[in-house]
């Protein structure tokens, strides 16, 4: 789950990381009241993507009227596919230095990595490419967590040793967010250092591991429903499908992530564009196929569907019967190409053909067929 800025800040604040005063506003009037109470604020769009500033989603205001006007503009605007549901009004900060503090999983190292740089802000990725040595890194042992001396070394390596007394506790607590909430990314950028040497989280990002959701039901309940993302993805999630919306016109169902990705590749190679990624997992039971098909058909851009199933344990004839049943119960009118391989693939193809469904001999042939039919 990707938390919004104000949610991530709530979480970090509970762990003892200083955050600026701020208030959530779901209407322009609420934003005006927040400004009246807090003084000059930044009115910030709350969406789970980066680049809000450049998209016009952050405005600095001095008065309640300005805050109302800013919120009017921002609430409801679309930022990279997300409708802004609310704004966060936050007091303006006294900034002496902007530091970058980030955490992620380094999959090559099979380890967590904490990164700290004296040069925070938006250009951090560029910095990482041009001067990687400007970003100090720590790979804490996952059982021990970061040790005191390791944190000190990190802070000194980043050239921030003179602020270690303020920074070390923040890093330690950010790391706690990782272990307490199974984060896969946690970031404070900028971490603001004031002229008095106080640190405060200027922005905050927190993404948790979907695989660990069973351990964090309270977090899901509290924050899970605020953002309206892609409606099809929401629907698919409800139905326990692995589904990602894409821009094209060919609906895709595969069993297994690799096969599904491979199918996307084949459709593109054939000149088409996929409308989605949808992995129905190991077997291919009629009800699961039906579920997946019905979500895919919610998207009006879809002009045809390609199903690519490998029958391992499940027999091809069973899969074929399931597909026919799903198509019939959904009353599917769009072109449908099914590529079926594996156990009893011949029998399966017979069944498909007998029921008017086009079988593809290979994935590549099937992709070419569906692209042709949806052109």
């Amino acid at each position: 789950m990707k938390l919004l800025e104000y949610q991530a800040k709530e979480v970090l604040s509970q762990l003892g990381i200083p955050i600026p005063s701020g208030k959530v506003a779901t209407t322009p009037d609420e934003a005006a009241r927040a400004c009246a109470e807090l003084g000059p604020v930044a009115v910030k769009a709350q969406v789970p993507v980066g680049g809000r500033g450049k998209a016009g989603g952050i405005k600095l205001v001095q008065t309640a009227d300005e805050a109302r006007a800013a919120a009017e503009q921002i609430i409801g605007m679309d930022i990279k596919g997300f409708r802004v549901p609310l704004v966060y009004c936050e007091t303006a900060l006294d900034i002496a230095q902007e530091v970058y503090l980030g955490f992620t999983v380094d999959r090559d190292a099979r380890a967590n990595v904490v990164m700290l740089s004296a040069h925070g802000g938006m250009d951090i990725e560029q910095l990482a490419e041009e001067s990687p040595e400007a970003i100090a890194r720590l790979y804490p042992n996952p059982w021990r967590g970061p040790l005191n001396f390791e944190l000190n070394q990190l802070v000194w390596a980043a050239g921030l040793g003179s602020h270690s007394r303020a920074l070390v506790p923040v890093i330690r607590q950010l790391y706690r967010a990782i272990t307490d909430y199974d984060a896969v990314t946690a970031e404070i950028n900028p971490l603001v250092i004031s002229k008095e040497g106080q640190v405060v989280a200027g922005d905050a990002k927190l993404e948790t591991d979907e695989n660990a959701a069973f351990r964090h039901k309270a977090l899901e309940e509290r924050y899970g429903d605020v953002v309206e993302g892609d409606p099809y993805e929401r629907e698919a999630k409800k139905r326990n499908l692995t589904y990602v919306s894409l821009d094209g016109e060919v609906g895709i169902i595969g069993n297994g992530a690799g096969l599904c990705m491979g199918t996307l590749d084949l459709v593109q190679r054939a000149g088409g564009r996929a409308a989605n990624f949808c992995d129905i997992g190991g077997g291919a039971k009629a009800e699961v196929v039906e579920n997946a098909l019905s979500v895919i058909l919610m998207n009006p851009n879809v002009r045809g569907v390609l199903i690519n199933v490998f029958g391992g344990i499940t027999r091809g004839d069973e899969v074929a019967r399931g597909l026919v049943q799903a198509r019939d119960s959904l009353n599917l009118r769009l072109p449908l190409v099914v590529r079926l391989s594996g156990t009893n693939e011949t029998e399966g193809r017979e069944i498909l053909r007998a029921n008017g469904i086009e079988p593809g001999a290979s994935g590549w042939e099937a992709a070419q067929k569906i692209v042709e039919m949806t052109r």
Binding site: T104, G258, L259
Partner: protein
Amino acid sequence: MSILLNRDSRVVVQGITGREGSFHTEQMQSMGTKVVAGTSPGKGGTTHLGVPIFNTVADAVRETAANAGGIFVPPPFAADAIMEAAAAGLTLVVCITEGIPIQDMIRVKDFLRLHPGCRLIGPNCPGLITPGVAKIGIIPQQFSLPGHVGVVSRSGTLTYEAMAALTSAGAGQSTIVGIGGDPVLGLSFWDVVQLFENDPETTHLALIGEIGGTDEERAAELLGRGSRLKTVAFISGRTAPEGKRMGHAGAIVSGNRGTAKSKEEAFSAAGVRVAETTDELVEMLVGAPAARRPAGEHQTEPGQS
């Protein structure tokens, strides 16, 4: 010969009494895999599928000399199951479970450093099969054929596709290893390629990668140093959607690496041919056009479908 799994492998199945564990244990047994024990806390002393059940893996190892294991337990308990298997002295542990939290696996990886004799495959993988000999996991054996092509893959179903295509083309396999699709894995491509390199029975290698991480790049580097294997690589996910990124942290760590392009270039630079489809993979590898006879029908023993 083969890698990792052979006639001496004595397998203990964790979670043997569950639905998945039961089903796949029967599949393993049906191809002759020596399943010598199962574990299920509280059921020690009983028998399931003709296999003695123990409360702990340590008990199973002590009583049956099991040396390899398959894990079919739900995600919340899988990390612990892997550590239990390693601590009990198994030298090969195959974890099929999908959906283990990343932080759990990071801890497991550190734990495994204490048990360097233990090789973990997975999690979130189909396991491995040495055709005609044994399997641990869920790879459908009816598409396999004993032979000399090593297969290593991050994907489940794409592995089956490649295996079936190889078998159709008459090209048997030495061992097929699905290393799994999770970000934090046991054996990497590098490890498995190294094993195949040292297996005299393996002459060809099919490597099926995916976008993300740089395990493929590192395997390419290894192959580039000189290899006796005729290798073809395939990378899936060239057109896969990027996750909608929020922060910079991931990008800082991975930079431009991990894309399909970077992986394909790495293999090309290492002198390894790159296929665009699994059929092409087979064709490049064994020369034969994929003139396919219906797969799944060259072995017709009952009870394997």
